[in-house]
């Protein structure tokens, strides 16, 4: 985007609004009604989700500037706020699709009128090139694709310009949802190939700095470390055209500054605010706050079975009876999210669901004595400095409570960058807090990542042959299969009985906005979706 072009378009917008001489000196609060300003604390480090090293905050570009074959639906939650609906898969670039009887062949028909932002039609060749890219570049995108059994370019086939075929090694309920996550976004392959070189066949350098999609917005300007400006793509055909002509994502590193900005109304929306701010802003009425429990996500106290005393199930249960759940939920989460303790009994296959543990020091002591640890032991307790907002108060409360049953738990803090190596790769932390959440909203998907031996998020080194067997059996089963519900029920029973991960609470994602902003929608990827936002 050239400066001159931007100025021209600004002037054009201003002319349309009839306020041309004013627009450049108006503060953000009075920015034209068709511009929405969003403040976030995270930095966008690439426009290309497939690139090595692209961070989480950058996933929003794949959402706002690209389409996929299919997308998730939207539902209204009991509190009136909007959330994506993991149970509904809708057409995005594909107008329809058929699944063969054995579930191993999926054929997608592309919408005839679908065009990229440059006006060229979206073809099956573009779809193939994009999915090939997602499974070939390695790293996170390839891992995520694999979750839906999408592993090799040979699985993707162009039938004709508007027909695309995917072949699977076996049928799985995860394939379609996995095509709706941000990763398999469809790129304009003609544009990309024009910028590809021998060393860079997937045009990683070009797509890192430019978008080439069919999405609702194009990235008009990207100033790394400062802002991304989206301009509406009026040729978008995959949904209702966004109301805003322009959305500015501005990086404001300090949470206190972000809060001041939204209270003053100088930005329209602050995405992902601390639980403390959510509680106070909602109480003061200075901004509209939307808090959504994060699906398929649990904050847990993880006990590593590499650590001798934790090999005994009774020790793990003793600790689960010594956690001050109520106090943690009040102090660390400021009451945001959903309590995950103190149920009378486990019920149904809802996930996550409260465990039956509650603070009961007598029971904890009895279990410890039974396991032969009457006098307790010492275990280092690790927390991630990047997440100290909730981990620090939580750890202190747990430490205090464990002391009462004779367990000394000195707290050790690890910088965020080293956390993943220590917790997930080396799996060497005896006792630690963890925040894993699964993108695809199925309990067995969570179990696959968190409770299977060897998987990255199983930082407890938990291994139970029955869990392994059940997860393998269930992962591909459709929800309607008669074995599905009993399997999940059994899995929940086992992992709550064994408690390698003690559930504390289900966290919430909160955002604050001015009363003028509507359409805010929660997504599992926990990034701002600019498309449905409205400003009155």
């Amino acid at each position: 985007m050239q400066r001159r072009e931007f100025l021209k378009s600004t002037v054009a917008v201003a002319l349309g609004a009839g306020v041309m001489p004013l627009v450049r000196i108006l503060p953000a609060a009075a920015a034209p009604a068709d511009t929405i300003v969003v403040a976030t604390g995270a930095t966008i480090n690439s426009l290309d989700l497939h690139r090595q090293g692209t961070n989480r905050a950058s996933y929003q570009v794949a959402v706002n500037a690209y389409d996929r074959l299919v997308k998730f639906g939207t539902k209204t939650l009991p509190d009136g706020s909007l959330s994506y609906d993991s149970s509904v898969i809708e057409p995005d670039l594909a107008e329809s699709w058929t699944v063969s009887d054995d579930g191993k062949t999926l054929i997608f028909k592309l919408r005839p009128n679908a065009v990229f932002a440059d006006g060229t039609p979206v073809t099956a060749q573009d779809v193939k090139w994009s999915l090939d890219r997602a499974v070939s570049l390695g790293g996170f995108p390839t891992t995520q694709m694999k979750a839906g059994l999408l592993e090799k370019p040979e699985q993707f086939e162009v039938v004709d310009d508007k027909t695309f075929k995917i072949t699977l090694p076996r049928a799985s309920k995860l394939t379609l949802p996995d095509l709706a996550v941000p990763v398999p976004f469809i790129i304009n392959s003609k544009v990309a190939k024009a910028h590809a070189t021998a060393e860079d066949p997937w045009a990683a350098e070009y797509l890192h700095r430019n978008t080439a999609g069919s999405g609702a917005f194009v990235v008009e300007r990207w100033e790394p470390g400062q802002q991304v400006i989206y301009a509406r793509n009026d040729k978008w055909t995959s949904g209702k055209l966004p109301q805003a002509r322009r959305v500015i994502m501005r990086e404001i590193p300090s949470a206190a500054t972000r809060r001041a900005l939204i209270e003053r109304g100088d930005v329209d929306l602050v995405f992902n605010i601390p639980d403390k701010d959510a509680k106070e802003l909602a109480a003061s009425g200075k901004a509209k706050v939307v808090s959504t429990p994060i699906e398929n996500c649990l904050y847990v106290l993880a006990l590593n079975e590499n650590f001798e005393p934790f090999k005994d199930k009774r020790v793990r249960q003793a600790i689960a009876y010594a956690v001050p759940y109520e106090a943690i939920f009040k102090t660390a989460a400021y009451g945001a999210g959903v309590p995950m303790w103190g149920a009378d009994k486990l019920e149904g296959i809802a996930w996550p669901q409260p465990s039956t543990y509650k603070l009961d020091l007598e029971k904890a002591k009895a279990l410890l004595a039974e396991a032969g640890y009457k006098d307790g032991f010492t275990v280092p307790f690790f927390i991630n400095l990047d997440l100290s907002a909730w981990m620090e108060p939580t750890a202190l409360l747990i430490q205090e409570s464990l002391a009462k049953i004779g367990i000394k738990a000195p707290i050790e803090k690890i910088p965020g960058a080293n956390w993943r190596t220590a917790a997930s790769v080396e799996k060497r932390l005896p006792m630690h807090l963890d925040d894993f959440g699964g993108w695809l909203n199925y309990p067995d998907y969570y179990f696959f990542w968190a409770y299977m031996p060897g998987t990255i998020f199983n930082s407890s080194n938990y291994e139970n042959p029955e869990v392994v067997k059940l997860v393998k059996e269930t992962l591909d089963l459709p929800l309607t299969d008669p074995a599905y519900a009993p399997n999940i029920k059994r899995l929940i029973d086992i992992v709550y009985e064994d408690v390698p991960r003690i559930p504390l609470y289900q966290p919430a994602l909160s955002s604050a906005m001015t009363p003028k902003i509507g359409g805010y929608e929660y997504w599992f990827h926990r990034q701002p979706d600019a498309r449905p936002l409205t400003k009155s």
Binding site: Q52, G53, R56, G138, G139, G225, S254, A260, N418
Partner: protein, 341 residues
């Protein structure tokens, strides 16, 4: 004279080469000694051992250290500082966009600080141990004792949040403006060069609060140093002589005393400047200022080797240049100072 000064400058730069090489070696080794594993970090949340290995190979971290170092030197020789993984940009482009932001902020803050600190220091020195002296001491001590993020947030709270006179603390320019095309990298100057008064005043407005925050913090060393140096000079024989000769108070203070007291003040200015340039991370955070300090800290936290190395190297070069400028300014302030001694 000019040619001899050129020789001096060149000699100074030549002397800096071993220092810089040392900096390069030490930074390289120190970043590798950090406990983090950038490959695991940048492989993303759902990484598998294979994808971590892929990232490690892509970053060249699977090579032995000497090979990595040789490659780094080769790159440096061609002016390539490498690629920052955390920002996704080349380190050079990161530094080129962020260093001017830091320079603009630090320079304006220190000039402001100097404009207040020098009169304060002189006043305190001439009225030693009076009320004025105590008030000066209290003011500068308070300034340096308050953590900058607190001063920053307090200023934001009063002038932006409560009174609404300061612009929103959202960085170098409000949403409504386009950054001026870069000449010096200083937004205010660039906008003025482009003849865009509106943008210049907007950029200046954004600059005021962070500059004041930083100025308050840097008052103390400058004011205290001015006071101490002035006291020393005022007690010396030539001032007594000047007084006895009946020179005016003003002439003695500003002509004879101040000029002689300037050397340590300038030295302190140089040190404070170099320090503040990379160290005002918290001011940058509070005001969303895209400066070099927060860049370095974030790079360090995620073990972004290239970015950390590039930052340290550029800062080392800046230190050398600033010290050289300070040394040169000595010869202007005090002709007796030479380089040969």
């Amino acid at each position: 004279m000019t040619s001899s000064r050129t020789v001096i400058v060149l000699k100074r730069f030549a002397q800096a080469i071993p220092t810089l090489f040392g900096v390069i070696v030490v930074t390289f080794l120190l970043t590798r000694a950090l406990p983090g594993d950038p490959a695991a970090y940048f492989a993303g949340p759902a990484a598998t051992p294979e994808s971590i290995a892929q990232v490690r190979a892509a970053l060249g971290l699977d090579q032995p250290l000497p090979a990595q170092f040789a490659r780094y030197l080769q790159d440096l020789a061609t002016g390539n500082l490498g690629q920052s993984i955390s920002t996704g940009q080349t380190v050079l482009s990161d530094i080129l966009t962020r260093l001017p932001a830091s320079l603009e902020l630090t320079l304006s803050a220190l000039l402001l600080s100097l404009a207040i600190a020098m009169p304060l220091g002189i006043l305190a020195a001439t009225r030693q141990n009076t009320m004025v002296d105590h008030v000066c001491r209290a003011v500068v001590t308070a300034g340096v004792s308050l953590p900058v993020f607190f001063t920053g947030l307090a200023l934001v709270y009063v002038f932006y949040y409560q009174l609404g006179v300061a612009p929103a603390p959202i960085g170098r320019l409000d949403f409504a403006y386009i950054s001026p095309s870069p000449v010096t990298g200083f937004f205010v100057i660039d906008a003025l060069l482009a003849g865009d008064g509106e943008t210049a005043s907007a950029a200046l407005g954004q600059l005021v609060l962070p500059a004041v925050t930083l100025a308050i913090f840097t008052l103390a060393p400058l004011a205290r140093m001015t006071r101490a140096a002035m006291l020393q000079v005022l007690a010396s024989d030539f001032i007594r002589t000047a007084r006895a000769a009946g020179l005016s108070r003003r002439k003695i203070l500003l002509g004879s005393a101040l000029r002689n007291a300037l050397l340590p003040v300038v030295t302190t200015f140089g040190m404070v400047f170099s320090f503040a340039l990379g160290a005002n991370v918290l001011v940058e955070k509070v005001f969303a200022w895209p400066g070099i300090g927060s860049y370095a800290v974030e790079a360090l936290v995620v073990s972004d080797y290239a970015a950390v190395q590039g930052f340290v190297l550029v800062m080392a070069i800046l230190f050398v240049v600033i010290n050289l400028l300070i040394d040169l300014s000595y010869t202007l302030i005090d002709p007796r100072v030479g380089f040969d001694g």
